[in-house]
Each structure stands twice: as structure tokens, then as C-alpha cells.
Amino acid sequence: MLQNFGKYLLFLKSLVTRGEPLKIIFKRTIDEAILIGINSIFIVALVSTFIGAVSTVQVSYNMVNALIPRSTIGFIVREMVILELAPTITSIVLAGKVGSSIAGGLGTMKITEQVDALEVMGINSTSYLVLPKILAALLVFPMLVIIAMFLGLMGGYIAGTVTGQLTAQEYISGLRIDFIPYNVVFALIKSFIFAFLISSISSYKGYYTSGGALEVGAAGTAAVTHSVIAVLIADFVSAQMLL
């Protein structure tokens, strides 16, 4: 366990020592970012809309006291979506989607000697292959989280009004109660941390694959489980430290 962690740190170090020219890293990062964005936007949109909708329905189900104004539902949904659901659920979805594809892709390159082929050309394979993936995740995850916040609140709006739990005015005025901009900043900081954890852990798992197709599959699974655990721990720690 500890040995693995040390190897992981060395792996991270190798990303930045003797890297490839910035121009190449930049171009590869943009390519990877587009890939991550396009591949995940649909699932992120779907999940966040539904989570916002379900949260609204459940909160209003629990809110039976007639003394509490209905707009409080909007307030609670906003807090849940911005602080926790958008960054964390999105990251867990992305851990499955992006993490497994990073680990699978790198693992396949490893076992088919494509990584060796890069090394023989004198190219630093971690800097060329892995660094752009991590940078791309850092770039794209916060954007996806912002989209998820927006769609989560939209989902809540639709669910609340369509089922007649509360009026549009009530929901929107609820969204505006005591709005703290720092919460959005906090969510974005979390999404950066999660992006780094997911992309680096999955890269590490993929890059150290050896064997055959079976091991590539195992690396993908390990990447997802390790990333999800890391995200949950980091979620708790950051809530303790930053709130």
C-alpha cells in the first residue's frame, strides 16, 4: 500500500521532469480536453438534471409543515446541488467514464508496446501521454461541474413545477435566499481536486499495466474503484477544511 503510494508519487514526478516541448503538450491537452468533454457531457447532463429533479421532489415530500414557506425547498435544493451533488456526483460519474477510458487506453498502449515505441524514440512517455490527460481533466471537470449545477437547478425547477409541489416564483425566490458566492468557488476547488485525483490515479493504473487484455480490464476496474474512494475521502476532507 505504502510502496504503491511512493510509486504513485514518483510517477507524478516523472510527469514534469524532462518533459516534452510545451507546444506539443498544449496541443495534446486540447485534443484530450475535447475528447473528455464530448464523451462526458451527455451523461453529466442527464445525471445532474435527474438528481436536481429527484432532490426537489424528495425535499418537498419531507417538507409538510405549513409554517415553512414553500420557497425553502428551492433554497435547500440549491445548497445541495451546488455544494455537494454537482461537484461530487459529477466527479463520480466521470471517474467511471473518464477514469476507465484513461486506464484502458494507457493499459492497451502499454501491453501492445506503443509506450515502448515512444520511449525508444527518446520521448518521455509519461510527459507526452499522461500529462495532457491530467491537464485536460483539470480544464474540463470544472466546466462540466458548472453545467451540472445549472442543469441540476433546472431539473429541480421542472420537477417542482410540473408536479405542482411549488410555483415557479417560489422556487426561484428560494434559489435566491442567502446566496453565498463562496459556495460556488468551493465547489470549483473541489472539482479541481477531484479532476486531479481521478486522472492521475487512472493514468497510474493504466500506465503500470503488464500482461494482456485481462489485465487491461482489471486496470480499468481498479482505476474506477480507487478514484471513487479517493474522491469520497477528498470530499470529506475538503468539507472539513474549507467550510
Binding site: T112, E113, D116, A117, E119, M121, G122
Partner: protein
């Protein structure tokens, strides 16, 4: 010239290379010959540093390589072209991009120069017009040839080919063998070819090392390989019927010369 000295390598206690030394001359096609599983690919990877030998050293034209500083090793590696046994094409890139890749990373050619070079190399391996195909759409032999095109695209100083003609029909195999020899002599580079194909041995074997169970049992040229007195090598060569026939003819000629 590449010199290797006393290379040892074991995997989990199983000895694969057991003290191999030798010299690979510049301008010559040097062959590593041996049965399947004798460690030819492992030796090649030890030479280029993809596998770290447990013991022993490799020098490229007098520069110590094996445990040298990373930037010195990378400097040497930029002069290496290598064909992997499994081709190792980048499967996210098409044929053209695969061959262009080392040119883009290692040279400062313009796009037009790169394309000219790519097309020239593809034509040399008989693959003109496949530029836009993806590796998954190629046959095994075609992948091999793209791998060769990628290895020779930047004018390398050291060329390593792991079984360049396995999986090719005899005619294409012969063309590839001749191409490798031609490039070696034309650009005066140091070439190491791993093979277990006797045709290649006879066709291009300037200097042949025979590996057997992790040791170098024999070294010589294609001219004297049929006369070796190493039983393991003879068994290996004369598993091929044509080789047995060739040997018979040779002996017949000998007998007629010395009545």
C-alpha cells in the same frame, strides 16, 4: 558500432540471458538467430534500454548507454529506429500519421518535407496509397511493413528490427530483407535484425549470432553458417529441408574438388 558486454537478465529467477557479449558492426546487417523463446527480443530490448539488464553494459559508438544519465540515453535513443515484434503501431493514428510521428517529434522538417518522406518510406515497403488506413484495418504483414516505414523514416543511425518478415509471404519477406540491407549499406548505419528465418540468414546475414538458452553459441557469417560444428545450430538450420539439400550440394562439390 554497438558493443554489448556480459548481458545477464532473469525474470523471477528464470535465467533468460546468461552473459552475452558481442560487437555489432556499422554498415553490416547483424542478425540475432535463435529458436522461439531463447531471449532474442529480450536481448534487443536490453540493448535499447527498454529492459534493464541485471548485469552487463551496452555502448553505442563508444558512448556508454546502459546506466548513463537520462539525457545521454535520450540523445542516443533519438538516433534509434526500431521495429517491434508486434509492430506497436499507434492505434489512434492512421498509417500516414504513424510514419510521420517520429519526423514530427525528432526533426524540424516542414509539413511538405514530412509528407514527401512518409510517401517515400511507404513506397519503399510497398504500401503506397494506404496513407489513410487505420492500423486496425491492416493485415498483420501490412502492420509490420508500416512499422518498418516508421522505423526508417527519420534517418536513424541504429536500426533494430524484431522479426521484420515474420508473417510475410516469401516474396515480400525477401523485399523487406533487401530493403533493410540496402538502407544499412547506403546510409552506413548499424543494424540488428532478430530472426529465425533461414532465408533471411542466407540473404542478408553479414554477421550472425546464434543464441541458445541464453548463451551465444556461435558467431559467423552467412558464408560459413552451413559449416558450423555446433550441434544445436545445425539442428536449427537443418530443420529446413532446403538447407539440408544445400548442404548436400555443398558437400558434393567439396568431394569433387578433393579427389
Amino acid at each position: 558500432m554497438i558493443e554489448i558486454h556480459n548481458i545477464h537478465k532473469s525474470f523471477n529467477g528464470k535465467v533468460v540471458l546468461d552473459g552475452i557479449s558481442g560487437v555489432f558492426q556499422t554498415g553490416k546487417t547483424n542478425l540475432l538467430l535463435g529458436a522461439s523463446g531463447t531471449g532474442k527480443s529480450v536481448l534487443l530490448k536490453c540493448i535499447v534500454g527498454l529492459i534493464k539488464p541485471d548485469l552487463g553494459s551496452v555502448t553505442f559508438d563508444g558512448t556508454y548507454f546502459t546506466n548513463n544519465k537520462l539525457d545521454i540515453r535520450q540523445e542516443i535513443r533519438r538516433k534509434i529506429g526500431m521495429l517491434f515484434q508486434g509492430s506497436a503501431l499507434f492505434d489512434s493514428m492512421n498509417v500516414e500519421e504513424n510514419v510521420e510521428f517520429p519526423l514530427m517529434m525528432l526533426t524540424d522538417m516542414s509539413r511538405q518535407e514530412r509528407m514527401d518522406r512518409v510517401n517515400f518510406c511507404l513506397q519503399r515497403v510497398g504500401l503506397e496509397g494506404t496513407n489513410k488506413k487505420m492500423p486496425a484495418e491492416l493485415s498483420g504483414g501490412m502492420k509490420k511493413r508500416v512499422g518498418i516505414a516508421r522505423a526508417i523514416a527519420p534517418n536513424c543511425t541504429y536500426l533494430f528490427c524484431d522479426e521484420p518478415n515474420s508473417g510475410l509471404d516469401p516474396l515480400t519477406a525477401l523485399k523487406i530483407d533487401r530493403l533493410i540491407k540496402e538502407i544499412t549499406e547506403e546510409y552506413n548505419i548499424t543494424t540488428i535484425v532478430v530472426t529465425h528465418d533461414m532465408n533471411s540468414v542466407i540473404e542478408i546475414g553479414d554477421n550472425i549470432m546464434f543464441l541458445y538458452e541464453g548463451k551465444k553459441l556461435w558467431e559467423g557469417t552467412s558464408n560459413n553458417i552451413l559449416d558450423s560444428d555446433v550441434p544445436e545450430l545445425n539442428e536449427f538450420i537443418f530443420a529446413n529441408r532446403l538447407m539440408r539439400d544445400a548442404k548436400k550440394v555443398e558437400e558434393e562439390e567439396e568431394r569433387q574438388k578433393t579427389p
